[in-house]
């Protein structure tokens, strides 16, 4: 089992110093950003409630990722036939997939819990055994949600595999889950604004949930710790055994495709080469649930912000992002100025995970088929960019209209232009990073869409770029409502977008696809 698991990770990680440095940088950045959030909560007096709150967040995050990725991670992986031909029992192969799945889910839990435990320890200086218990709790946290999530995700995949409307059902289900996750995030942020009392009341409200075991274990109750570990281990063993029994039946149900027994060649329609490329890109994008799911967050968050602004008004909106009125007052920011932040917030969400950051990697070994076609690289890139525009621009236009209804009408144009330019820029950054850090030899789409270096680097690069105008505003004390500031916030990204697009189309990117083969 461990041999297969090690083989999986060895195939994912090329032994290269630059790659390890990059991974190290990404890990530090991720822990840093979560750590800052935890520290802010600690400063607000909520350090005691941190472990429970982050446990709930980690559980929820694990549940969502398990629902969305389990059908791809546990089943339908490309090298299943190869592995079955090796002298391993089917049970061993299944166990290795469960272990790989658990490790990837553990990464999400660790991302939230390590900073939470660290900040808790910094503020409350617990006894030595806390660290050992914390480590054990971190290891068991993802077990139950990933089991529940993988059962739900697999059931969803089975139901949708052969249905004519399978993809639509799958997207609707996933959209609901994403919306629920965002709603939870807003609720937690409101608690954040409420200060110590809100944290304690939030922690109190978790007393009737499994979080109480977590909390008791951390507070030195061995029975709770043993129950949590024993229960999780038993469930894990049961799940692995049950999965071993139903694996092949579920695998064939998920991977089987709906076929048409009575097919006859219909009318053959002709369209242009570029239209064909775009249509193919769109079919590839919408054909991959995990790919769509990864971009849904940004779209829904941006729309949620715009709707909240239109319904609640601009003065209430920052509360939902965890910034209290007193904190805003301390920064000397007026409501009118807040209004000007909103387009940047939309840009931030829309630019977070562009489809282009995985668009080259998702081609996988098919890249050779694409490169063999008589089309210019710039047209291939163009079609790939366009998918990003189609996914993000229409919702941002709706969001812009919603902002225009409620915010000052003086700079209405910028409500549309600011998100738009960051969508264009993020698409170029995503494409450029993916061309530099492609992952073509994947076995599941999850490896490309959620775990590849290109996607993570793009998220961070775009987060930094979108936050830059706001940071400059805060540091330099600029007037964000100033027309010059807004114009520059549009023109500088526009210039960078054009430069990157030129380099990709006519410079270093021109022959890059061939170099990757």
């Amino acid at each position: 089992m461990f041999k297969l698991t090690v083989l999986y990770y060895r195939s994912m990680l090329k032994p290269s110093l630059s790659r390890y440095l990059l991974i190290g940088f990404i890990v530090v950045m991720m822990f840093g950003s979560i750590g800052i959030q935890a520290f802010m909560i600690g400063l607000s007096g909520g350090a005691a409630a941190l472990p429970e709150l982050f446990f709930v967040a980690a559980t929820f995050l694990t549940l969502i990722t398990a629902i969305s990725t389990s059908s791809k991670q546990l089943f339908g992986f490309r090298d299943l036939d190869t592995q079955l031909s090796w002298p391993f029992s089917a049970r061993t192969i299944v166990a290795s997939r469960v272990l790989i799945f658990y490790v990837s889910e553990l990464a999400f839990s660790a991302l939230l819990l390590i900073p939470a435990f660290a900040v808790y320890a910094y503020f409350l200086v617990p006894e030595w055994w806390f660290y050992a218990v914390a480590l054990l709790l971190m290891l068991v946290t993802p077990v139950i949600p990933s089991i529940i999530g993988s059962i739900l995700g697999s059931l969803l995949a089975i139901v949708t595999a052969k249905s004519r409307f399978g993809k639509a059902i799958e997207f609707a289900g996933l959209t609901l889950i994403v919306a629920a996750a965002i709603a939870l995030n807003f609720i937690l942020n409101r608690a954040n604004v409420g200060g110590e009392d809100a944290f304690l009341s939030a922690a109190e409200s978790l007393k009737n949930t499994p979080a109480v075991l977590f909390s008791n274990a951390l507070n030195g109750k061995p029975s709770s710790l043993l129950l949590l570990i024993g229960g999780s281990a038993a469930l894990f063993a049961l799940f692995s055994l049950a999965l071993g029994k139903v694996f092949f039946a579920v695998n064939s149900a998920i991977t089987s495709k709906r076929t048409n027994a009575n097919y006859t060649l219909g009318t053959v329609k002709q369209s242009g080469a570029f239209t064909a490329l775009i249509a193919k890109e769109l079919k590839m994008y919408f054909g991959s649930t995990i790919y769509v799911f990864n971009t849904l967050f940004g779209v829904i968050l941006a729309l949620a912000v715009a709707i909240a602004v239109a319904v609640l008004g601009v003065d209430k909106i920052f509360v939902y992002f965890g910034v209290s009125e007193s904190e805003l007052a301390a920064l000397n920011i007026t409501n009118v100025q807040i209004g000007y932040f909103i387009p940047f917030a939309l840009a931030f969400f829309a630019a977070m995970s562009p489809t282009t950051s995985a668009t080259i990697s998702i081609e996988g070994r098919r890249l050779e088929t694409l490169v063999a076609l008589p089309v210019h690289t710039s047209r291939i890139y163009g079609a790939k960019r366009l998918v990003n525009y189609i996914v993000y621009i229409p919702p941002m236009i709706i969001a812009g209209i919603l902002l225009a209804v409620r915010l000052p009408s003086e700079y209405t144009l910028f409500y549309f232009l600011i998100p738009l330019i960051y969508i264009l820029l993020s698409a170029e950054i995503g494409l450029g990073v993916n061309l530099l850090l492609p992952k073509l030899n994947w076995t599941t789409e999850t490896q490309v869409v959620k775990q590849s270096a290109a996607v993570v680097v793009t998220v961070f690069a775009n987060m930094i770029i979108c936050c830059l105008p706001i940071v400059l505003f805060l540091i330099l004390g600029l007037d964000i409502g100033d027309e010059k500031f807004l114009t520059l916030s549009f023109c500088i990204p526009a210039l960078i977008t054009m430069v990157i697009a030129y380099v990709l189309n006519f410079g270093a990117g021109k022959n890059r696809l061939r170099d990757l083969l």
Binding site: T255, S256, K257, R258, T259, N260, Y263, L265, V268, K269, Q270, S271, G272, A273, T275, A276, L277, A279, K280, K283, M284, G287, S288, G364, R365, R366, E368, T369, V371, A372, L373, P374, V375, H376, N511, R514, D515, L517
Partner: protein, 245 residues
């Protein structure tokens, strides 16, 4: 139809450079069914990929129907079709859509497209499966679909990497028929194979490559002489090779 002059491809790595193709020259004329034979790792696929414009090369010249692959890759690619040994197609797409995509890319008019799909997909007996996602296809069916897609734009040069691997005997016979037909209409075929019997029966010209260098090249009769192609191949590749015939 295909002229290769002094083609050299070097794969660079930290452990040292590997000369995959070394100063290779050959000429595929219209009407030729040209077999390209060699051991695994001899440089056959690298040569085919360089000719198809999917791989850059270090030196030499490749021209397809008089068009330089390095200078005008798009126009060169329009003249040819290339089918990999293990076709990687888009599993999420339906086969009919994949054929539409290829037809649109090459600008094949709708009427011609329909008649060619009927002819080639009908010939390979997959026309009833064109409404299915490619992901539901077996390896052999994917191979057939890739061949239909390759023939869809009536290429002047058809380049195939191990085309008979994965095909059932009937489909292999059908493919041989399509290959002969293409050559009779003035096209040419350049294909790699390990199946020496097929090469011997099908090809009018053959080249044997070893460690990136051509060790024999000429008409089938010139290369094999009075012996079988298999005997010549074994002798040349075991003994270190001979000069070009």
């Amino acid at each position: 139809m295909l002229q290769i002059k002094g083609l050299t491809k070097i794969f660079k790595s930290g452990k040292g450079d590997k000369r995959a193709v070394d100063n290779l020259s050959l000429n595929v004329a219209p009407g030729d069914i040209y077999g390209f034979i060699g051991h695994n790792g001899a440089g056959k696929t690298t040569t085919l990929r360089a000719c198809a414009g999917v791989m850059t090369y270090d030196s030499g010249e490749i021209a397809v129907n008089g068009i330089d692959v390095a200078r005008d890759p798009i126009e060169a690619k329009r003249q040819l079709a290339y089918v990999q040994d293990n076709p990687e197609l888009y599993d999420n797409l339906k086969a009919e859509y994949y054929l539409k995509f290829i037809g649109d890319i090459y600008g094949v008019p709708a009427a011609e497209r329909r008649s060619r799909i009927e002819k080639y997909a009908g010939g390979f007996e997959i026309i009833g499966n064109l409404g299915d996602p490619i992901g539901s296809y077996s390896h052999g069916m994917k191979q057939k679909l890739a061949l239909v897609a390759a023939l869809l734009h009536a290429p002047r040069l058809l380049m195939l990497d191990e085309p008979f691997v994965g095909l059932d005997p009937k489909a292999a016979l059908t493919l041989k028929g399509f290959m002969s037909e293409l050559c009779q209409s003035g096209g040419a075929i350049f294909f790699s194979t390990h199946v020496l019997d097929v090469a011997e029966k099908l090809c009018n010209r053959v080249a044997i490559i070893k460690s990136g260098s051509l060790i024999a090249e000429g008409t089938m009769e010139e290369v094999r002489g009075t012996a079988s192609l298999e005997a010549v191949f074994m002798e040349l590749t075991e003994t270190g090779g001979a000069a070009n015939v």
